[in-house]
Amino acid sequence: MASDAVIDVTARYFAAFREQAGTDAERVTTGAATAGDLYGELAERHGFADARGRCKVAINDELSDWTAPLKHGDVVLFFPPVAGG
């Protein structure tokens, strides 16, 4: 698929990201080809300050890589740095 295709995805935010974005989920129309590209776009929009390497992403409830390609209809979960324990 061409990387310049425009798709609709759902972005879900957790913890610090949710508070910063002011919502737990939103519909996003994007030209982002990968999860990492989408993070860059949304980090700029919402002011997420955490380096991507310290965060995690899941696509459709499966942990994924930042290089994973996105397709129309995906639900993309953005996890800020974890702090269990």
């Binding site: 499966e62 942990l63 740095p81 974890v82 702090a83 269990g84």
Partner: protein
């Protein structure tokens, strides 16, 4: 082997009863408690949040990894979510094994991996009213930024 997210208080005695086995000669358990300070700040309470489906899947995977790496009989883990007060148990890990070495090693492996990999987030509420997400640079309500991992233990 199972890992659970709980919104009700962790009961270490009840969890420990899941471990005994006739083959086990050792049992190592770990409890992470909420303490009243972190990096010089007085902490009043903690709030934990998890994405439960992935937290359970990743936690269960960690237990399976421990069972592969170490010669253990059983392992179990549980992590709290919600608001916790000072002294509350935030996380519990228990391992049984034929011998103590494997039980200690597996328990340490499991708690370390939980802290690094499982999608659980911790918000500290400080004396004075401020609050902040531990480890996160994002978020305007904290008093610190990008701090080192705060630990309950």
């Amino acid at each position: 082997m199972s890992f659970r997210i709980s919104s009700t208080p962790i009961d270490p005695d009840e969890l420990k009863r899941r471990l005994p086995d006739a083959h086990a000669g050792a049992c190592v358990t770990f409890e992470g408690w909420v303490r009243d300070h972190n990096e010089g700040d007085a902490v009043n309470a903690l709030e934990y949040e998890a994405h439960e489906p992935i937290a359970v899947a990743e936690g269960t995977k960690i237990l399976a990894e421990a069972a592969q790496r170490f010669d253990i009989v059983a392992a179990y883990g549980e992590h709290r979510v919600g608001r916790l007060e000072i002294g509350d148990c935030a996380v519990w890990v228990g391992v049984s094994a034929a011998h103590r070495g494997a039980a200690f090693d597996a328990c340490r492996y499991i708690i370390d991996e939980i802290k690094h990999r499982v999608p659980i987030w911790k918000k500290e509420h400080y004396r004075g009213g401020a609050a902040g997400w531990v480890n996160c640079a994002t978020g305007a309500s904290g008093t610190r930024r990008d701090s080192e991992a705060a630990e309950t233990q």
